[in-house]
């Protein structure tokens, strides 16, 4: 556990010392939030049934939160470490290889909490309010951050498997189709039948729906359970694959 804390602290220090890596990653979700609201708030006024009396910002906020936390930062940091030789130094130390992964993921949790808090505050400033209250806001931030942790596992996996900076960097692009084949702009029942079928088959949809329910509906335990289930499964599968990749690295 000490190893994870030490390596996690180092990774958090990295976030603080490289704001240029974090700030642009926050700019994109804030930009999408502002642009999307600006473009469709006339089309979907606050009387629109699926907005629950709120502005369109409430509907879009979860999508921006997911954009804010889904980064390949950890994967990029790891592949850079492999490239520069520090990774070998860690592998040659008498520590469990898994602690290198958990150290990175601990930093992703911190990064996710900070990023989603900033985006949430921006959303609140733009007029959204949390139907589930302050506790709901905390749950929203934590679930978003955990989604970021799960997603980070993908970047780490690509970094360990390819040892290639470009491949790790472009792994982020995989997120776009997964995010857009969802009810991100309108609910399921407003999508065309084909898009609705694809969105319903996409697990990311249930993360968006669950996070959105905290903003618009209050405490909808069914939606929250599905959202949490997808996030836990994502974390479990990608972390397990990352752990396997590091255990078999150069083996």
């Amino acid at each position: 556990m000490t190893e994870v804390l030490l390596l996690g602290r180092r990774a958090v220090r990295e976030i603080a010392r490289y704001p240029e890596a974090t700030i642009p990653a926050l700019f994109i979700p804030l930009f999408f939030l502002a642009v999307n609201i600006g473009q469709v708030s006339e089309t979907f006024p606050d009387t629109t049934p699926f907005l629950g009396g709120q502005g369109y910002v409430a509907f879009q906020l979860p999508v921006s939160l997911m954009f804010a936390v889904a980064t390949a930062s950890s994967g990029l940091a790891l592949v850079t470490e492999i490239d520069q030789g520090y990774f070998d130094k860690l592998l040659a130390a008498p520590i469990r290889r898994s602690s290198i992964i958990f150290g990175r993921l601990a930093a992703d949790l911190v990064r996710g909490v900070l990023g989603s808090t900033v985006v949430l505050l921006a959303g609140l400033a733009l007029g959204a309010h949390m139907e589930s209250g302050i506790l709901g806001a905390v749950v929203l931030v934590v679930l978003s951050a955990l989604f970021g942790v799960g997603y980070a596992g993908f970047g780490i996996l690509v970094a360990l498997r390819t040892r290639n900076v470009q491949a790790t960097n472009t792994s982020f692009l995989l997120f776009f189709p997964l995010l857009f084949l969802t009810p991100n702009f309108v609910p399921f029942d407003r999508l065309t039948p084909l898009m609705e079928a694809l969105a319903r088959a996409n697990p990311v949809s249930y993360v968006i729906v669950g996070l959105r329910s905290l903003v618009i509906d209050g405490w909808d335990l069914g939606k929250l359970a599905a959202c949490t289930g997808v996030i836990v499964a994502l974390c479990a599968v990608l972390t397990a694959l990352s752990l396997r990749a590091i255990a078999t690295y150069d083996r």
Binding site: L6, G85, Y86, F87, K89, A92, D250
Partner: protein
């Protein structure tokens, strides 16, 4: 496996995917407190051997023990007992020198005040105290190498692996690293050092092995290896003269131990180089052979390398760069 030696390898080999045999069954015995050199050109298998001994890469043939512990059966225990400074300097550019060493202490179970004290001690010892609180990305090549060395020493390892510790360093920094290697040896640490520099092997190593194409082709103390070559070397630079005719002309020279053909020279290993010059000139003159130059020297490790592999190590880097260009 015999644990009286700090490093033991028996038929150690590594074949990579695709069938590349990087290390082809090497045997090694390194005694405690010894500086053992592993000399060879790029691609000879030095780094692969070090990575196997450091447990970073499992062997595909044979076995090895380090500090009496089998590298395959108990890699974690091996890692506790060794320090590693690999060819790629393993530093995190985001951290300061002090943070990096304190983290390294933590990874070896040294925490709190002990870690801070050990870090300060090593920074002082390696002349990095003034730069301790700067990020390592601002360090010069020599400073990075010293910090890397310090990070390999935090836990006072029994065995220290140094993989080409001076490659890319300026002469002054190289000397500083040499001094540090001598100091570490003085403390009783066994050092396994790979290098492609003959002078480094000659200066630092108690014993050395020459590796070429994954095989050990010579092993012994630098003095013994050079002594086996004969007393003197007379190098005839051919400058267009026929190598076979030249060799035939000097072939029966008194005191001649061996002749080694190089790309544009013949190296004659003789009992008395200076005393043989006149006779060499007479014989070449008799056969009307004109050579470019004749030089006498003592055998070097490069001569040992030449004898063992049929080519020179010295200047191999330059030749590789020229070929690449």
């Amino acid at each position: 496996m015999d644990s009286t030696h700090t490093i033991e390898a028996r038929a150690l080999g590594r074949t990579f995917k695709g069938g590349v045999e990087a290390v082809r069954g090497i045997d090694l015995s390194v005694a405690g407190g010894e500086v053992f050199g592993f000399l060879g050109p790029n691609g000879a298998g030095k780094t692969t051997t070090v990575r196997m001994l450091c447990t970073l890469l499992p062997p595909t043939a044979g076995g090895a023990s380090v500090a009496g512990v089998d590298v395959v059966a108990d890699p974690a225990e091996v890692r506790r007992r060794i320090g590693v400074a690999l060819q790629e300097i393993g530093l995190d550019p985001v951290q300061t020198g002090r943070e990096l060493l304190e983290l390294q202490c933590g990874l070896y179970g040294i925490t709190g005040n002990d870690a801070r004290a050990r870090t300060s001690e090593l920074l002082e010892l390696l002349g990095l105290s003034d730069a301790a609180d700067r990020r390592t990305k601002t360090y010069s090549g020599g400073m990075k190498r010293r910090l890397d060395l310090a990070s390999a020493l935090v836990h006072s390892p029994d065995v220290l692996f140094l993989d080409e510790p001076t490659t890319g360093l300026d002469p002054a920094s190289r000397l500083t690293v040499w001094e540090e290697v001598r100091r570490i040896k003085g403390a009783g640490t066994t050092i396994f050092l790979t290098t492609q520099y003959l002078e480094e092997a000659d200066q630092l190593c108690d014993r050395l092995a020459i590796i070429d194409a994954g095989r050990i082709v010579a092993e012994g103390t630098p003095e013994r290896l050079k002594g086996e070559m004969g007393h003197d070397v007379v190098r005839l630079t051919l400058d267009g003269a026929d190598a076979r005719a030249t060799e035939a002309a000097v072939g029966e020279l008194p005191g001649l131990e061996r002749v080694v053909t190089e790309s544009d020279a013949l190296a004659l290993y003789l009992d008395d180089g200076a005393g043989s010059i006149a006779e060499i000139v007479r014989r070449l003159d008799r056969e009307s052979i004109r050579v470019g130059a004749i030089a006498v020297s003592r055998p070097s490790l490069d001569d040992v390398f030449l004898q063992a592999t049929g080519r020179r190590l010295e200047g191999a880097e330059d030749r590789q760069a020229e070929e690449a260009a």
